[in-house]
């Protein structure tokens, strides 16, 4: 069934991207673990972790493209879903610390001991099990998205107003998670993780494993997104994006479609957050910051909205630039980012992927027209076009 969906959408650049992700899931860990440090092809562990982090950002960008690029919902709050997934993973990692914390309490994380709590709050139950925590990393963002979307889409909030309330959503969560009595570590968040699934979280092998998991999760996310967008449902989404009210008059319940893609997208973002946290070693309320969500929008815009592959490229490139800038010229990063956004909006409305598409189309047309110079007049595409009814 899935294969049939894919036949329509898994073409060209998407296939290349999928192959790249699968290859790097094997090669990068191999080049890191199997080669001695002196070898020219050795990939150092810090680079593995950095790339792993970029891939989780790419998964967040992909999730955002699904709602923004294909359904026209400009979310300025997607970091909220990412952070919720991250907190679920963080809670699992906290429970794994056990009695190795500073206070040595066998059950309570350090911050709870510090707050003089004497038992684990009920919502921390179950997080000692990895599978439960992973489930929550998907389900918690899904529930938030579903409830938020249920109200927003039914009351037909769209456009700028919707974007603003998504910002408000992530901002409200930011404030909530800052509070110590929420039981999520307040300002400091969750950190000092020791191990994951019994493996030392700092070891090279674990880092390589987390990288591979991120690459595979992104590959799976891409396949899912292609399946969704290539299906008839994907065409309905584009219809909603381009002419919402027309779609309603065809009998489609637009709010159900939005709710579906919004919830799926939130789960992808949650998974991205869950993979992000063990690689960076901390999750704190700062991940809910409105600016994070806006940055994600920029990655998508730079790579090419509505292309699936573009946002992945955009997330990796922009974050690569960010890593470079924050090391070399930290005070200029925000200006560079803002400038990039303005540049893309003005000159590259379809992003890097859009630019590449136009360029290859032009090249193909030029090649085609060379042997048959008389036959170039007027036609815009390379395919022969039927004559319009006259």
């Amino acid at each position: 069934m899935t294969l049939r969906f894919l036949s329509g959408g898994l073409t060209g650049g998407r296939l290349v991207m999928l192959a790249l992700l699968l290859a790097s899931a094997i090669l990068v860990p191999l080049l890191n673990l199997a080669l001695p440090e002196s070898h020219p092809l050795h990939v150092p562990t810090y680079a593995v972790t950095l790339m792993g982090k970029y891939l989780t950002y790419a998964l967040l960008a992909l999730a955002l493209d699904l709602v923004w690029g294909y359904c026209g919902i400009l979310s300025l709050g997607h970091a909220a879903f990412f952070a919720l997934g991250g907190y679920a993973m963080g809670m699992y990692l906290m429970r794994q610390i056990g009695s190795r914390g500073v206070y040595g309490d066998p059950v309570l994380p350090d911050f709870m001991v510090f707050l003089n709590w004497d038992e684990l709050p009920w919502y921390w139950y179950g997080f000692d099990a990895f599978s439960f925590a992973m489930l929550v990393a998907l389900v918690a963002p899904a529930i938030l998205a579903f409830v938020f979307g249920w109200f927003a889409f039914r009351s037909r909030v769209t456009g700028v107003y919707l974007s603003i309330i998504t910002q408000a959503m992530t901002y409200a969560l930011l404030l909530a998670f800052f509070r110590n009595d929420m039981g999520f570590g307040g300002n400091n968040g969750l950190t000092d993780f020791k191990d994951i699934l019994g493996f030392d979280i700092q070891s090279d092998a674990t880092r390589a494993g987390l990288f591979a998991a991120s690459a595979l999760a992104l590959a799976a996310g891409l396949v899912l997104a292609v399946a969704i967008t290539a299906s008839k449902l994907g065409k309905v989404l584009i219809a909603v994006r381009d002419a919402e009210s027309r779609t309603r008059f065809l009998g489609y319940r637009v709010e159900h479609y939005k709710l579906f893609v919004w919830t799926v997208s939130a789960m992808m973002a949650g998974l991205a957050g869950a993979l992000y946290v063990p690689q960076v070693g901390i999750i704190n309320p700062g991940e809910f910051a409105p600016a994070n969500s806006i940055e994600a929008v920029i990655w998508v815009a730079v790579g090419g909205r509505g292309t699936l592959v573009g946002p992945i490229i955009g997330a990796v490139l922009v974050n690569f630039a960010k890593s470079w800038f924050t090391a070399a010229l930290p005070e200029f990063w925000l200006f560079a980012l803002g400038g990039l956004f303005v540049f893309v909006t003005l000159f590259l409305p379809t992003g890097i992927v859009g630019l590449a598409r136009t360029a290859t189309q032009r090249l193909r047309r030029m090649r085609k027209s060379e042997p048959d110079a008389r036959n170039t007049g007027g036609s815009v595409t390379t395919e022969p076009r039927g004559q319009a009814a006259e």
């Binding site: 002419a243 319940r253 479609y257 076009r385 009814a389």
Partner: protein, 248 residues
């Protein structure tokens, strides 16, 4: 036409926008398999009437019934479309970034839920239905082109094709001949006459030659209510109709 059973029933429908009455105590009936032409000056309320029937605008008062018992004022756009009322907009509205074929595919009568469309597969029956529609609206050669690349007249036809794909009981068609050549207009009139053999159709149009070609009962709207009703010859000899509309 024999005294057919009533399909659409409007009684005393009023709509106002900031105190301005766009529809004012509007009442009329459309029979099953009847085609009706609606004419009237700009601002008479023709488009607003379609908005009210399709759930886009809620009437302030009045009764709106479809197929005997369905109270249209209690339902939204998607539900009303599901009852079998399809609509073509005054400004042609197609999905510009999708192919002509996909526009028709999206309109085809089928389950409308997200899970039904997620697992939808096209089959031979669907493909041949689309081929038939493409031939009917003369866009077979443009099937793979983006709808946005069509000419204005062709978009009008595509939208009529989408209406046919929905296979509704009642078709509301707002100014189909706008932007068409004379030949296209004549062909559109032929097409609508063909459709009206098996569907109820309400057509709003300014083009008198087109309305004459339809050869059906005409309702004249003015300031949100019915000014006159009858054959085209009958209404065009009506003093008030000449004063407010035809005479100008």
């Amino acid at each position: 036409m024999a005294k057919a059973e009533t399909l659409l029933y409007l009684d005393g429908v009023s709509v106002s926008f900031d105190g301005f009455k766009a529809l004012n105590n509007l009442s009329f009936l459309i029979g099953r398999n009847e085609m009706r032409a609606i004419i009237g000056p700009n601002g008479a309320g023709k488009t607003t009437m379609m908005d009210v029937i399709t759930g886009k605008t809620r009437p302030d008062e009045g009764e709106l019934r479809f197929d005997g018992k369905i109270d249209l004022t209690a339902h939204d756009e998607a539900e009303i479309a599901g009852f079998g009322i399809g609509r073509k907009f005054q400004k042609p509205t197609v999905f510009e970034n999708q192919s002509v074929r996909d526009n028709l595919m999206l309109a085809l009568k089928a389950l409308r839920g997200p899970f039904a469309t997620l697992f939808h597969r096209d089959d031979d029956a669907e493909r041949s239905r689309i081929d038939t529609l493409l031939a009917t609206i003369r866009l077979t050669a443009r099937r793979d082109d983006l709808a946005g690349d069509l000419s204005h007249g062709q978009k009008q036809w595509l939208e009529i094709g989408m209406l046919l794909a929905q296979d509704p009981e009642l078709l509301l068609i707002d100014e189909p001949a706008a932007g068409m050549t004379d030949a296209e207009t004549a062909a559109t009139a032929d097409l609508l006459r063909e459709i009206s053999k098996t569907h109820s159709v309400v057509v709003v149009e300014h083009d008198m030659a087109f309305v004459r070609a339809l050869g059906v009962k005409v309702t004249v709207l003015h300031e949100g209510s019915v000014l006159a009703e009858g054959s085209l010859d009958h209404v065009s000899n009506d003093r008030r109709v000449i004063d407010v509309y035809l005479g100008r």
